[in-house]
Amino acid sequence: MRKFHVVSSLVALGVAAAFATPAHAADWDHKDIADALHSVMEADRIVYTKLIVNRLQNQDKVIKASEHWKDDKALVLPAQMFRYGAEHVAEKGAKFSYSLLSLWPVNKQNNAKTPVEKAGLEAVLKGDPYYTTETLGGKKYYTAIYPDKAVAKACISCHNDHKDSPRKDFKMGDVMGGVVLRLPMN
């Protein structure tokens, strides 16, 4: 039994070593960089959704979140927060880009558009990221798509109740869409 534990631990370590991010950033490949960028995006997104929107709107009922936050004097929606961040990054002239897309978007602009987006958003429904390369406008990109899950009641209630939402049966923990991150390769 003990021997089995040792073996299984060694196997687990080997697997972890094979997939682990190299200790030195200089050795990072496209996947490592994409994963690192996404970890920051995901953390900020979860913090904003849970600590700001869900707490103040759903729990404490102090203020609402609204798509028309300026007119309604309300909180920016988590999806907008994410998009405004991506726009800031683009305006700064960053070489990478990212967006939040879905197979069931409220805003039709956020529908899967490229063949990779369509395949990737289907693939991440199982809960794991999807990595590939694609060529857009004559340029090659490393494209990573990460599942985006319903982490709070605010996510599902807003999407299930919105008149423009194509899907109205989201449950907590469902993959509602995906974060698509692109790194240029040449």
Binding site: A90, G137, R182
Partner: protein
């Protein structure tokens, strides 16, 4: 002899070429002398500064990026303020590479090319009327109500605008779609610069009088000027002579100046001056050129005002700073188009006349400035909100639906406002009468809302049955 004549011809050619080169070198560097380099007439928006090529072509070696930087140096703030519906970042995302191939909207000049008078349409657009179709040809899949609509009709009739949809987005139409011609309490928002300056601790705001004046010896003002100043908001807010008449000179020492210019006004009125310099009244000053003169204008102006020079003082008048005069009489001194001439016969003027006669309530009159230099809510650089007068007279002018939120809806319902602004003849009559047609967008938005609610109710009923 023949040889001498031969040399003489060469010398003459050399001298003529040298003179031509010298003149061209002088002209290319001298604003107002650059007509020889003009490839074609520029738009109404830029004609005042057309003879300063460097206003737009400051960095010729940067190519299109240099031009884009020049566009943004004047237009970036307004695009940000209007929540531009088609920001550049939408087009730089690689996922929209196919859209970019149809319309390169990363550059302003893709749609607003200059020097192309023969293809320039309203708002300086140089694309054919159906530009929306390039990317939105399948709109009827998303919005079946749009089936059969002409692609030249998207931006007409108060429905859509490429950049500014603050008064046109669907939920706004739904929320404000039920209002009538007039609101219950029609009036303008109040300005409160003094309160803001005191709140920010930029001024103590304590009123002062002639006995507190600090520039008496240096400026030796005549009693009339002192009396005028004493009655202004400046004296009421504690702004002394030195507030405007003292500035640091080149050696960084405080010196008294007889005739302060707009740079002095920026000390307290930074955003107002910025607006003035961005619009048609001040854009020449912004470029370091001589002030705009009505005689240079493409619009009809009174010949008597042709040589007036436009600065802050032209409309506000030094020392008196009479904002009522600046709001009507100053405009009528120069402008002489049909809309302006119709103003004094309009219901708006009647209200203005009532207010300045003391019979109408404060903020109930409608002056030229009410619509063209409107009081708007503004987020200051300190991230505070204050109501200020937008001094860029062009900010809400084209397309005129941009005026709906900032101006019309202070007093009127949304439907009436959209209808009135879409009626060119009514605009020419300065809104004397009623709009000829009703704009469809509100009806369509309300119907879409009803359909959405019905779908939602049906879904909830299904769930209840389960």
């Amino acid at each position: 002899m023949k040889r001498l004549a031969h040399y003489r011809a060469w010398l003459l050619w050399l001298a003529a070429s040298g003179l031509l080169a010298a003149w061209l070198a002088y002209a290319v560097q001298t604003p107002d002398r650059q007509q020889a380099f003009m490839p074609g007439k520029v738009t109404h928006a830029h004609h005042q500064i057309e003879l300063k090529c460097a206003a737009c072509h400051a960095e010729p070696f940067k190519g299109s990026a240099g031009i884009q930087d020049a566009c943004l140096s004047c237009h970036a703030k307004e695009l940000k303020a209007m929540d531009d519906s088609h920001p550049v970042s939408k087009f730089t995302d690689p996922r929209n590479a196919d859209t970019l191939a149809k319309l390169d909207a990363r550059q302003c000049v893709s749609c607003h090319t200059e020097h192309k008078a023969e293809i320039t349409r309203p708002v300086g657009v140089t694309l054919p009327d159906d530009f929306c179709v390039r990317c939105h040809s399948d709109i009827e899949k998303e919005r079946p109500s749009h089936k059969g609509m002409a692609f030249t009709s998207c931006a007409t009739g108060g429905c859509h605008n490429f950049h500014d949809n603050r008064a046109l987005y669907e939920d706004f139409l739904i929320r404000h779609g039920q209002g009538g011609k007039l609101k219950d309490d029609p009036k303008l928002p109040e300005r409160h610069l003094r309160d803001f300056m005191v709140y920010m601790e930029y001024l103590d705001g304590e009123p002062i009088t002639a006995s507190d004046m600090d520039g008496r010896a240096e400026l030796s003002p005549v009693p009339k000027l002192v009396a005028e100043w004493e009655h202004t908001a400046h004296a009421q807010a504690g702004v002394n002579c030195s507030g405007c008449h003292q500035a640091k000179d080149e050696s960084d020492t405080l010196a008294w100046i007889k005739q302060p210019d707009h740079t002095v006004c920026t000390r307290c009125h930074k955003e107002e001056v910025e607006g003035f310099l961005t619009g048609l009244h001040g854009m020449r000053l912004k470029q370091g050129m001589t002030p705009m003169q009505p005689g240079m204008a493409e619009q009809p102006m009174k010949p008597s005002a042709g040589h007036a020079k436009l600065t802050c003082m032209s409309c506000h008048g030094a020392h008196r700073f009479d904002t009522r005069k600046a709001a009507v009489e100053a405009c009528l001194t120069c402008h002489d188009d049909g809309h302006t001439r119709a103003y004094k016969a309009s219901p708006h003027f009647t209200l203005w006349h009532e207010e300045i006669s003391g019979r109408g309530a404060k903020g109930s009159g409608v002056s030229c400035a009410t619509c063209h230099l409107p009081r708007v809510e503004f987020t200051t650089p300190e991230d505070e909100t204050r109501v200020l007068v937008q001094h860029n007279q062009n900010d809400n002018l084209r397309p005129n639906e941009k005026m709906v939120r900032s101006v019309c809806m202070n007093c009127h319902g949304l439907q009436f406002s959209l209808d009135a602004l879409a009626d060119g003849k009514l605009v020419a009559r300065n809104f004397k009468g009623m709009p000829a047609q009703q704009i469809e967008s509100i009806r369509m938005a309300l119907e879409a809302e009803r359909r959405g609610q019905a779908r939602k109710a049906a879904g909830e009923a299904d769930e209840a049955e389960e």
